[in-house]
């Protein structure tokens, strides 16, 4: 299967009053056509940074290095016009916050604006038809009313579904979703996950989903990457990573889920200013903290079937 998105050694470093801050320390991954790739990690680990870099939102910042290849072009090197042409038609963005909706426009206007710009369709009737189609697909009980409603008239959950509608309305090849299901009821979330899965099969849409909710990853992501403090600690097929986690951090995440007893792992992530060459999880690691030597993990260890772990104790 062809690689739709190919990210190589993406880094983001910037200067802050307290020294060099590493928001991302070199991540690489590929997303094939029709595949959903999940990135899971704590808040502040760099997930939102990846989303913004993949969309090219951060401009030509000096601290960005690495390549993001989409359909042969490096997003980081594209000029504004070419980048703009990709938005919504080839790459869709699903933001985290419902504040991304313009409070002065109806949901219908949001969707038809996107459609108009990308599909060169001008007829109001056809635009409305397409908008209602996508709203129906997202399980709204009264799509007509939602079409004419303003964001403040809808509940938070409905606004989040509206964001989904806007991202998917032109059926782009790739959708980048930043915490799309946070704050929704579990039933609604499951419903929407099903919808997304159906959309994926019907229209062959790939997705990169960034989230901290492992249940979302479990339910629809084909491949997963676990990110900690700006770098990946484990990547692989979702069933491998979730059922047989090898990295101690992944294990701590799984243990912390309420279903599994909610066992905490104390301590905090060191943050972007951490400049040591060693494993940033080691101080909190149930295995590594006992060792006196610093783990330097430059290469991942392969555990078969594209399952990689950045840990020296992975074999245990």
């Amino acid at each position: 299967m062809k690689n739709l998105l190919s990210v190589k050694e993406l880094k983001l470093v910037y200067d802050s009053p307290a020294g060099k801050a590493h928001a991302l320390r070199g991540v690489s991954f590929n997303v094939e056509e029709g595949e959903i790739f999940g990135i899971a990690g704590e808040s502040g680990a760099g997930k939102t940074t990846i989303c913004r870099l993949l969309m090219g939102f951060m401009g030509k910042n000096a601290g960005i290095s690495g390549q993001v290849y989409f359909n042969g072009d490096d997003i980081l090197k594209l000029n504004h016009k070419d980048l703009y042409r990709l938005y919504s038609r080839k790459i869709g963005f699903l933001p985290q916050s419902i504040a991304s909706l313009n409070p002065l426009l109806t949901i219908g206007t949001h969707i038809t604006e996107t459609l108009k710009k990308n599909l060169k369709v001008k007829t109001k009737k056809i635009l409305k038809q397409k908008a209602i189609y996508i709203l129906d697909a997202l399980e709204f009980s009264d799509s007509g009313q939602v079409y004419n409603s303003f964001p403040y008239q809808l509940s938070g959950g409905m606004n989040q579904r509206a964001l989904l509608a806007i991202a998917f309305c032109c059926f782009p090849n790739l959708v980048i979703a930043d915490e799309p299901f946070t704050g929704l009821d579990p039933d609604l979330r499951d419903h929407l996950l099903e919808t997304v899965r159906i959309l994926k099969y019907k229209k062959n849409i790939s997705m990169v989903i960034v989230t901290h909710d492992l249940k979302v990853i479990e339910k629809i992501c084909d491949k997963t990457a676990i990110i900690y403090n700006g770098s990946f600690v484990e990547t692989g097929e979702t069933k491998d990573v979730i059922k047989t986690p090898l990295h101690p951090y992944t294990r701590s995440l799984i243990k912390a889920m309420p279903e599994n007893g909610m066992i905490p792992t104390w301590g905090f992530a060191p943050g972007a200013l951490y400049n040591d060459a060693g494993c940033s999880f080691q101080p909190r690691c149930p295995m590594g903290s006992k060792e006196k030597k610093k783990h330097i993990v430059s290469f991942p260890v392969s555990a078969g079937n594209n399952h990689y772990v950045w840990c020296l104790n992975a074999k245990n």
């Binding site: 802050s16 307290a18 020294g19 502040g44 943050g271 200013l273």
Partner: protein, 287 residues
């Protein structure tokens, strides 16, 4: 701490130094000009600018330069007093009105409505007519006409802040209303107020000059710029310098204040300012 960073960008601006110069003139005009602004010299009337009289002399032989410098004290001094009075009065009413809402809000807003229905200049003229001319009266008159604008704007700012989550949390803890207004709401609305204040100075100076120009403001022989402008108009053909310099200074001063306000509102050169978005420590990295 953060205000200092804002002012750093002002150091590069020429108008900042102009204003500093005027403030210096206001504090002690004799530092700048040795001549007495009130001494008449009937034999040397309407002289063009020269080495001794930098801006020439007026129709009574007085040094225009020293009169302009002393006028700075009046314009900026009175302007500042008006600003402080109207800001204090209008600001307090605005904060109370916005924070408490309900009948307090209604009451204050109806009063401001009454004041705002009459045009500023008409109120000023009527009050000037009854109170008479004089610097102190000018300050009183203009403070009365100008407080409503501040009350309205500040009320709007407070309405926005009072619904913030941290204000709600402060109420939940049980903190007093007075504390919440002083410690949470006021610091949040200071940046826009600062901008309003600098723009307000410009307006005040124009109003003072207008009143004096109409003969209703500062009394003779005090060297207010507006009054000097008024006297100079009669001699525009023969001695234009008499009206030119006061007029120039009015324009430059108002322009400078406006530009300072503009700079504070949208700072460049990497200054940080909390116009809502930036917050202390918002550069990430320190955990």
């Amino acid at each position: 701490m953060n205000k200092i960073i804002v002012f750093k960008s002002l150091i590069y601006k020429p108008y900042f130094y102009f204003l500093l110069f005027l403030v210096l003139a206001g504090i002690n005009p004799f530092l700048i000009s040795g001549n007495n602004p009130y001494t008449t010299n009937l034999s040397g009337r309407l002289e063009p600018p020269s080495a001794e009289y930098l801006f020439g002399t007026d129709n009574l032989g007085r040094c225009v330069f020293s009169r302009v410098m002393h006028g700075a004290r009046i314009s900026i001094g009175a302007g500042l007093s008006i600003l402080l009075l109207s800001l204090l009065f209008g600001g307090t009413l605005g904060i109370l009105s916005g924070y408490f809402g309900g009948w307090v809000d209604e009451f204050v807003m109806r009063i401001t409505d009454i004041f705002m229905t009459v045009p500023t200049i008409v109120i000023a003229l009527v009050l000037a007519g009854s109170l008479g001319p004089g610097t102190k009266n000018v300050i009183i008159i203009l403070s009365i006409t100008m407080w409503t604008g501040y009350a309205r704007m500040i009320r709007g700012l407070v309405l926005d802040i009072k619904n913030r989550h941290y204000v709600e949390t402060a109420k939940t803890i049980g903190l007093k209303n007075s504390y919440i207004m002083l410690r949470h709401i006021l610091p949040a609305i200071l940046p826009p107020i600062l901008v309003m204040a600098t723009l307000g100075m410009g307006r005040n100076i124009i109003m003072i000059s207008s009143l004096s120009f109409l003969g209703l403001g500062i009394i003779e022989p005090a060297p207010d710029w507006g009054a000097m402008l008024n006297q100079g108009t009669a001699y525009m053909r023969t001695a234009p310098h008499m009206a030119l310099f006061p007029g120039l200074f009015i324009s430059l001063t108002v322009l400078s204040f406006n530009m300072v306000g503009d700079e504070l509102g949208s700072p460049g050169n990497g200054s940080q300012f909390f116009m809502g978005a930036g917050n202390p420590g918002s550069q990430k990295g320190i955990r």
